[in-house]
């Protein structure tokens, strides 16, 4: 039997066209995810009710016992809550993707002439919007309980940019977990045990200087702390120092690490 030779010409799209369709397809998938929300509003619990509970808990229950240098506890707290919320929201990226992969729907996507990355990028785009919603809700709640940030507009923009960058990077980590793990429950449990200690062994809720030295060594230098410190300084109008670019490098670094990894794992899973 002779080999078949393909006679049909293959149009090879240019890089801008490919980029355009990657974004357009990702947006189509993101719209699909967003449509789920009003039909299943509990999908927003983790970026609304849950962080509000944290704000109230730390402001009124623990806050009175915690002394922070230079500002009120609620002012100190909010940066931690912002970052914690977008980081925890990466769990829902992982769970959502894991659910998608269980369905026949992904087979449909794979059989369409769409961008391969879009299934993943659509998820993380959704998460970015959820993060934005979370920061808005938290800011309003914070203001209501005495949050008085004095950062400049440009400081707030820089702070918000860092929060969303870090959240976006970690939602790609959520994608990796969603592709690797067998079930949404496993994703939830697996990510929780990693994220929970990271967020609490940090400067999010208490200054790391109060921790024992062995823990402080880790807590003061881990990325979560660096991002929280930078965000806090930006929104409170304090000098940011090295934490600003360190947080930026961490955010971009995680993105550069997790995006190709998740695409690689997703493609490999297909075969």
């Amino acid at each position: 039997m002779s080999a078949i030779t393909t006679t049909n010409p293959v149009a090879s799209p240019g890089i801008w066209q490919r980029l355009y369709w990657t974004l357009a397809d990702s947006w189509t998938i993101a719209v699909r995810n967003l449509r789920h929300i009003p039909r299943n509003p509990e999908l927003l619990l983790d970026v609304t009710i849950q962080p509000v509970i944290f704000v109230l808990l730390f402001r009124y229950v623990f806050g009175g016992a915690i002394k922070v240098p230079g500002t009120s506890y609620v002012n100190y707290l909010m940066a931690g809550i912002f970052v914690q919320t977008v980081v925890f929201s990466s769990l829902s990226t992982g769970i959502g993707l894991s659910n998608d992969l269980k369905l026949g729907l992904v087979d449909r996507f794979r059989s369409l002439p769409m961008s391969r990355v879009a299934v993943l990028a659509g998820r993380t785009m959704t998460d970015l919007l959820r993060g934005l919603l979370a920061v808005t809700v938290m800011t309003v709640v914070g203001l209501a309980v005495g949050f008085r940030p004095h950062g400049s507009v440009s400081g707030w923009i820089a702070g918000l940019g860092l929060i969303l960058l870090f959240g976006f990077a970690l939602s790609w980590a959520g994608v990796v977990a969603g592709v690797l793990m067998r079930s949404p429950e496993a994703v939830q449990a697996g990510m929780f045990v990693l994220i929970f200690p990271l967020t609490f062994a940090s400067s999010a809720f208490v200054p790391t200087s109060t921790m024992p030295s062995w823990l402080r060594l880790f807590a003061a230098h881990q990325p979560f702390t660096l991002v929280v410190n930078a965000v806090r300084s930006f929104i409170l109008g304090q000098p940011v120092g090295a934490a600003g670019w360190q947080a930026l490098v961490w955010g971009l670094g995680l993105l550069v690490f997790f995006v190709p990894l998740s695409v690689y794992l997703y493609d490999r899973k297909a075969v």
């Binding site: 039997m1 002779s2 080999a3 078949i4 030779t5 393909t6 006679t7 049909n8 293959v10 369709w21 357009a24 397809d25 189509t28 719209v31 699909r32 449509r35 789920h36 039909r39 299943n40 269980k102 369905l103 026949g104 729907l105 992904v106 087979d107 449909r108 996507f109 794979r110 059989s111 369409l112 002439p113 769409m114 879009a118 297909a270 075969v271």
Partner: protein, 338 residues
């Protein structure tokens, strides 16, 4: 052999999953505008073959071309030209029927206006207009299959793959599905259809490829396959067992082989050729010697008989040997419960 009249060509396709050899060299071709029925029991390799042809899986060996493009080298060109409706409805439960179709259309990169019109047309044609604005979650099994098929048709692809399109449907929904499939091909679409239901292949397909354990074991039209098993049989049920001997004499003259008389001496069977007016002749002959008949029928071999002859087992017997993974998927989504 490549042939520009073929919309689907596969040569020596192989695929293994770990130790399991799912495909052991499958050859097939589907001429443009025809239906190929890929028939085989669970675990025969049908779904694997469809997944390779629709670019979802890479083969380990062999070569395949769909709509003129190599599936391994130009998957995107293939994807632009195919529609796939799998065994498990590939729909978003939380979206409405209309939203599902529009999303699929957008992902085929069709213009928005066109997509909207096309979705409305398909909902109408598939009798889903009323359900179009409800979430798929609320759909019955038959409605899901129809919407899934509609999804495969959004871009009006020239080549369509339907993997067991009626598995788990009740007889009425199944007939409706068959009607839709026949209409499609009347419009020039090329269709590769897998099924484990012999009557489905018999009723829909122009050509049938029988697959068992990852190999093609027979191919041809339904008629050609049946001829491999033998011709028709005339079966007669007598009112009285005392007429058996004289009835057997008459049938022996008419038939083309030995007359079988069952133990109850009321049921007789004889192989017959295709003779015009055969049935009326038989009844007149029996009536002329006052033999009364309760039932008389001409049975042609079914594809079940074909399968039994070709493989030594019936299609159903293989059902227990399906891969664990497939059984798992069926459990998860509750196939058959719909």
């Amino acid at each position: 052999m490549a042939n520009s009249n073929d919309a689907v060509v596969a040569e020596g396709l192989q695929k293994h999953f770990g130790e399991t050899q799912a495909l052991r060299g499958i050859d097939l071709n589907v001429p443009k505008g025809t239906i190929l029925g890929m028939l085989g029991p669970n675990g025969a390799g049908k779904t694997t073959a469809v997944r390779i042809l629709s670019t979802l899986l890479k083969s380990d060996g062999g070569h395949a071309e769909v709509a003129g493009f190599d599936v391994a080298r130009h998957p995107d060109e293939v994807r632009r030209r195919i529609g796939l409706s799998g065994q498990y409805a590939a729909l978003d439960e939380m979206l409405t029927g209309k939203e599902n179709l529009e999303m699929i259309g957008r992902l085929y990169h069709l213009p928005k206006v066109h997509v909207r019109r096309r979705a409305a047309d398909l909902l109408e044609r598939f009798n889903l207009v009323d359900a179009g604005n409800r979430t798929v979650k609320t759909y019955s099994g038959g409605m899901r299959r129809r919407l899934d098929l509609a999804g495969a048709l959004v871009a009006e692809p020239p080549v369509l793959f339907l993997d067991e399109p009626t598995t788990g449907l009740d007889p009425r929904s199944r007939n409706g599905m068959w009607e839709l499939i026949r209409e499609l091909v009347a419009n020039g679409t090329t269709l590769l259809l897998t099924t484990q239901m012999l009557d489905e292949a018999d009723s829909l397909a122009d050509q049938i490829t029988v697959i068992d354990e990852g190999r093609v074991i027979a191919r041809g039209t339904s008629e050609q396959l049946k001829e491999q098993v033998g011709g028709a049989h005339l079966n007669v049920v007598l009112t009285s067992e005392y007429d058996a001997t004289s009835a057997a004499q008459i049938l022996g003259r008419i038939g083309s082989g030995n007359v079988q008389i069952e133990d109850d001496r009321r049921k007789l069977s004889v192989p017959v050729g295709s003779v015009p007016g055969l049935m009326s002749f038989v009844i007149r002959e029996l009536d002329s010697v006052n033999i009364q008949v309760d039932d008389i029928a001409l049975t042609r071999p079914t594809l079940d008989d074909v399968f039994l002859t070709l493989t030594g087992h019936t299609a159903d017997e293989m059902g227990t040997a399906r891969p664990a993974e497939q059984a798992k998927v069926e459990r998860e989504i509750g196939v058959g419960a719909a």
